[in-house]
Assembly symmetry: D2
Homo-oligomer: 310 residues x 4
Amino acid sequence: MQKLLEEIATTAATNPDKGRVATYIPELAGTDPNQFGIAAAMADGRVFSAGDADVPFSIQSVSKVFALALALGRVGDAMWTRVGREPSGLSFDSVLLLERENGIPRNPFINAGALVTTDTYLAGSSPREALGELLRFIRAAADDDGIHINEKVARSELATAHRNYSLAHYLASFGNMQASIDKVLGTYCHQCGVEMTCRQLAMAGRFLVDGDKMPALVSAERRRRINALMMTCGHYDGSGDFAFRVGMPGKSGVGGGILVVSPGRASIAVWSPGLNPYGNSKLGTEAMEAFARKTGWSVFGVPQGHEQVT
Amino acid sequence: MQKLLEEIATTAATNPDKGRVATYIPELAGTDPNQFGIAAAMADGRVFSAGDADVPFSIQSVSKVFALALALGRVGDAMWTRVGREPSGLSFDSVLLLERENGIPRNPFINAGALVTTDTYLAGSSPREALGELLRFIRAAADDDGIHINEKVARSELATAHRNYSLAHYLASFGNMQASIDKVLGTYCHQCGVEMTCRQLAMAGRFLVDGDKMPALVSAERRRRINALMMTCGHYDGSGDFAFRVGMPGKSGVGGGILVVSPGRASIAVWSPGLNPYGNSKLGTEAMEAFARKTGWSVFGVPQGHEQVT
Amino acid sequence: MQKLLEEIATTAATNPDKGRVATYIPELAGTDPNQFGIAAAMADGRVFSAGDADVPFSIQSVSKVFALALALGRVGDAMWTRVGREPSGLSFDSVLLLERENGIPRNPFINAGALVTTDTYLAGSSPREALGELLRFIRAAADDDGIHINEKVARSELATAHRNYSLAHYLASFGNMQASIDKVLGTYCHQCGVEMTCRQLAMAGRFLVDGDKMPALVSAERRRRINALMMTCGHYDGSGDFAFRVGMPGKSGVGGGILVVSPGRASIAVWSPGLNPYGNSKLGTEAMEAFARKTGWSVFGVPQGHEQVT
Amino acid sequence: MQKLLEEIATTAATNPDKGRVATYIPELAGTDPNQFGIAAAMADGRVFSAGDADVPFSIQSVSKVFALALALGRVGDAMWTRVGREPSGLSFDSVLLLERENGIPRNPFINAGALVTTDTYLAGSSPREALGELLRFIRAAADDDGIHINEKVARSELATAHRNYSLAHYLASFGNMQASIDKVLGTYCHQCGVEMTCRQLAMAGRFLVDGDKMPALVSAERRRRINALMMTCGHYDGSGDFAFRVGMPGKSGVGGGILVVSPGRASIAVWSPGLNPYGNSKLGTEAMEAFARKTGWSVFGVPQGHEQVT
């Protein structure tokens, strides 16, 4: 596995097309696109990594996975009355389907749905308390108290969050927001501003991997269901393509990070800031495609045998 | 496994809500909703079944899986220039996204995409030849020469195919149809009219299961990719829900059949004519949910261990 | 004319179906639907009225006409780089087309376009100054210093303005908002809260009527163009129907008021709080249809002759 | 008037930007863009013309006006149960709104609506009979038996009519087509293939002008209503702009012709084959804008006085 990750990091380093760094969050616009890191936390407890796996980055939308787990922990299946479970077929901040469907976002991984998720785990508490709880969840998952929120990024994001404000007010107009818009947006932007290294993110993703040595933060059934949502909705309107090419549940963020789960085997984190046209990490996606090919870990192929790669 | 299938068949038989039989194909409108069959063809060669597993039914859109395999065999990845790989987020015969995307259907499992698939495997040949080839593929997959097309159903379908004619002409207006519209529609409606029993369909689905005893009709990589498409797009705008609840790749048809693949383990076919609001078999979906829960075969959970069910 | 207005008022009074009063602005929800007023300010200076023509009501979206004139006075045709001139084909607060067209609202009479209008006349000034200027414009047009803003209605509207906040943030995300969202929304809701009687509104509409005795607040060309916009876009997705049935430029408001212009002849105001399914005054629309039939003032018929009605 | 038309023709001749000739109908693609004709048939019986006013051209969608009058003559207001009266806000052959509105086209001047119109006047008769009746109507309106259909253009159009076939089948899938699709399309393409000169078209448009010397083919009320539809829907998604700039009811065709009505005054026809981005004649639109400015005939300005231009 170590050798595989190093090969992948080397291939990425020599790829001349790094994709384009997102510019709409001013604080992130200056990130160096020549960075690439990858880490894998195995079900047996071992952790491997290569490249810039210890450089912290903004996890952005990858945070939606942790937020969803937290919100489901709060209200359980009642959440599904406020948000759907279907791929949206449209870009991450589209309002089109929201209008067709009376304010029920398609799924919790597009922005509208994630705002409902944030509103759900906010419940009656203050943003500070809610974010504290989110951090505790992530730190417990990663077994690492060093994970924190980058306040500067969060504020930079909040200052340019017109599209998300628009979605939140739109949801509110259908009665699908409970806390005040400002609270929800403040919390949401801080959630997106969580910073981790690949190694930390791979560790934090272990709660989605079945296994005795994995942190038991959610039930096996919920684990499977979150993985299913990551598979069908984790990459916006590029979800089908990721499933086709990689074949593992994954959630990407505009900061260039991707968290991928190999059920029963490992949690993998990859990061490179340049994005492809879908808004997902270009080198990260390509790396995961190579990873899946080499390991045979696509959930759509043989479920046993190939994993001698380790 | 035999016991499990029988339990599931019994539960289905006592469920008072059978869903609603589709009425838009006159020839199918009169089907008795009180029928339920299930069959599983295992990777080790054994076959189990329960209920009305030997009653033939119209596979309808399940045929899109075989048609896709055939078309990919013809033109390979060139096919992806004419059709996408993303869930549509909309109902099976919607034109909305087609307009947004210049005549490239979202995926090969919505009707517009399936028309492109049919046009692809038609290529230069006559409908008769093309359908002959499709039947040969299905019979080889199922190891059963008794599989045929119900001519009456095909004609009934063709006579009421205005929406599909509309989609085909729409595609043609973007240059995304090669054969004549009448040929494509005639072939497509006959393809939908293929008739099988649950046992035959489970057998025919084995080409999507990795295993030494399975028919090697497509490469391992293509197998994984077709499974990925079934997972993200196999149930129209209910695909996310099926992934969430069942967690296995599946393709449904309006005749009430569903083909489900457990990679490396089995091909499962279930059938009951009453549909849920998404247009997928109601009892069939519920049966597969129970099946997944009992077997632990969700691809999103543990990849080994649970399968002692057999 | 006096006789005609009285006949129309009598017919309205006896109509059992008054339409439904809008409920989404709490302060207006309690309005008595049994009210009906009509007034006509003629090009020769005479004014006629009947029914509840001296009861003040909330002009709501009728204010968009005055706001547009004011904004055009500020920036001239430069305004048309920020807003279009086409009917939207969709309801008044839809975001669908906004997404298709990169944040350029279809026309200044749907809410998104009106927010751009407000942002335009706000320019660098404070909401208080801008609203003062708007009131001066309306008072000058109506030759009546008694016209004011109902502060309670404005605040009630602001408190439930999620949909409009959503549109404003959406526009801002495309760079099509200059002032702060809060300023624009505050100003917009106060603009909608202008209160007039039918008599006052008919007087205020005279600046859109060509004639020596009419207030010359805009050029003849601008007058024609505003009238054209009222014809094609003045009644949301009921604009075509109003043109078909009435044949005069008109602008409706959710408070039940309609301002109608007969070019060269008169400005007519009608009011009744109950709405039809398009969100336009039900009795008001029917009254204007009868008015047009009796007077022959449709712009699509003979331009001279019939007006002996006076 | 003669002098005005000649000035306008001269201006057009010297304009370097002629727009782009439509290429999707092969038979029309080769038309010389340097042609420009204009003609006006006055309410008092006089006819003026300038430029290439005697060159026949394909009226294409201008035919929708005559077809609508014929269909209304057949079934009266019952027609409005099958087609709406609202501007579509979208391009002429869009299916988007058709899907939203269950197969009821927005208005009779977009293609979907015109197909319903054709189906309506076809009724039980053969295409030959129906087209004969349409030609009789047009010839009576123009007082000219020399008007005919260009068979070559009609066939060229039919051979590339995929989008219109798509719309017709779509309508049929909602039960909004009565005759067979092939009959409707054949009739529709021949209707579009009617050929006239500007002089003939101006004459034919007189039935929409109120006046003693005008042909009385429809009632005054129907005349006004057809004019209203031309104003709000006559130029597809450029209708608002035409109303804004010209201020008279008009209907354009992709062949470069525009029929404009000045109620009570004149019927005007202008033709130049190059189109603007909306698909309307570029020089024709500009000519009508100049014409409206010079004559003051916008229906949105003074209804009397200016017409001394004659």
